[in-house]
């Protein structure tokens, strides 16, 4: 059988096959990195436009709830101000104690600032983001990613030379070792729930958890430091016929609004 030179299927098999082959062998890597580098400024700008549109669209949708939301937020700000002053005092006391005991501060970590350039929407319930830093900048999978406010927003899951994929705490399959700031210091693993909230499962039934408790990273595993805020418990499911209880956690910030993040390198 003779294959015509201009046969479209043959064109795809040759050109497409060659691209895939050269990618896998790594020959194309420099060219790919150059193209990513070249398009990053434009990608960042397009991403910001998309975010602005999304923000104004959401604001429009929520317009009717504004007075109620403003009142709730004002109350929350007041509560947080009180809590913050208490924590500042404790932090100062902690610093003095650490210095006295000559301990290395656990907050001694480096952060790599990165811009969000795209979102990966391969899986329908996933909201993974793509940042403009990669293995060249010292990133590796498993590292924690925080927002501008210092709230943990996810974890690096895959790294290429110039870019990295970050799963958000609300994405299914994005698991973080966590601890609840309650009397029992309950520990567990959080994972995303439908891309909207965070779930903490397998908590022994006898542990006392209440809505409003803060959930932080537990520091287990070593990749993510302890004490980064994940969110607040909004609901506890504790059925009498179950061995475990489950907590639903709400992130403190809107994870759809991220433009700049920091990757924590321990």
């Amino acid at each position: 059988m003779k294959i015509k030179k201009n046969n479209p299927i043959a064109i795809f098999l040759v050109v497409g096959g060659l691209l895939i082959f050269l990618h896998w062998t790594g020959i194309l890597r420099s060219a790919e990195n150059f193209l990513i580098f070249l398009t990053q400024p434009l990608s960042g700008r397009l991403y910001n436009w998309g975010m602005s549109f999304s923000r104004s669209y959401r604001a429009n949708q929520l317009q009717e709830d504004w007075p109620a939301r403003a009142a709730a937020l004002a109350k929350e700000v007041a509560d947080l101000t009180v809590a913050n002053s208490r924590y500042l005092e404790m932090a100062e006391e902690n610093r003095k104690l650490r210095a006295t005991l000559n301990f290395l501060s656990t907050s001694d970590f480096q952060a790599v600032t990165a811009g969000v350039i795209a979102k990966e929407a391969a899986a329908e319930d996933s909201r993974d983001i793509i940042i403009n830093r990669g293995s060249r900048d010292g990133l590796r999978s498993g590292l924690g990613v925080v927002s501008e406010e210092g709230v943990i927003i996810g974890q690096v899951v895959e790294v290429k030379e110039m870019i990295a994929k970050v799963c958000l705490t609300t994405s299914p399959g994005c698991q973080l070792p966590a601890a609840i700031q309650n009397q029992d210091k309950t520990q567990g693993i959080t994972s995303g729930d439908l891309g909207l909230t965070i779930k903490m499962s397998y908590i022994p039934r006898l542990e006392k958890i209440s809505p409003g408790d803060t959930v932080i990273t537990s520091g287990l595993g070593g990749n993510i430091p302890r004490g980064l805020v994940i969110g607040k418990v909004i609901r506890v499911i504790n059925e009498s016929n179950e061995v475990w209880q489950e907590a639903t956690i709400e992130p403190l910030i809107n994870l759809d609004d991220l433009t700049v993040v920091s990757v924590i390198v321990p």
Partner: protein, 176 residues
């Protein structure tokens, strides 16, 4: 000769731009808007107006850019777009042979369904997904949204192209 080179450069830049917009802008939009699939629309448009060969090039250029920023296996978008073009070409040559609006819209709808199923199958097997995509309500909702956008884009493109050329037939075929 130069005209042809400029046309190729324009084609490459246009598809690269569309891929960039798709990745960085459209995927960040709220749910309904993020289902716009610019590359797929461009592919069908190219296939319908410029032929299968041009559509294969569109699949290669668009697929390459999408794969470059994707963390699934390299070639996922390339293969999906090519198979979609091939499927649509076969349907266009076998059943929807006239160049009227309804056949164009039907072709776009078939391509959208085909693209999503091919992509879902390849993604499912390459990423060891726990749940099969056809049983997920998210998939069907996204497909419905994407169908609406594709049809709207098809309607717009057909009318624009219809105004520019006599090559297209009216909305419905007239009885002779």
């Amino acid at each position: 000769m130069f005209k042809k080179i400029w046309r190729i450069i324009f084609f490459v830049l246009l598809l690269s731009g569309l891929a960039g917009i798709q990745l960085s802008l459209i995927f960040t939009l709220p749910d309904f808007f993020r289902q716009i699939n610019l590359i797929l629309i461009a592919l069908i448009f190219t296939l319908f107006f410029f032929g299968f060969r041009a559509a294969v090039w569109a699949a290669i250029i668009g697929g390459f850019w999408l794969d470059l920023f994707s963390f699934s296996f390299f070639g996922l978008y390339l293969i999906t777009l090519f198979l979609t073009a091939l499927l649509t070409e076969k349907i266009a040559n076998t059943w929807l042979t006239n160049r009227s609006l309804y056949s164009f819209l039907l072709l776009i709808l078939t391509a959208t369904v085909g693209y999503n199923i091919i992509f879902g199958v390849l993604f499912y097997f390459s990423n060891n997904q726990a749940v099969f995509f056809l049983t997920q309500s998210n998939f069907w909702q996204a497909l419905a949204y994407q169908g609406v956008w594709s049809l709207a884009a098809g309607l717009l493109m057909f009318n624009l192209a219809g105004a520019a050329t006599r090559w297209l037939k009216p909305v419905f075929l007239k009885k002779s």
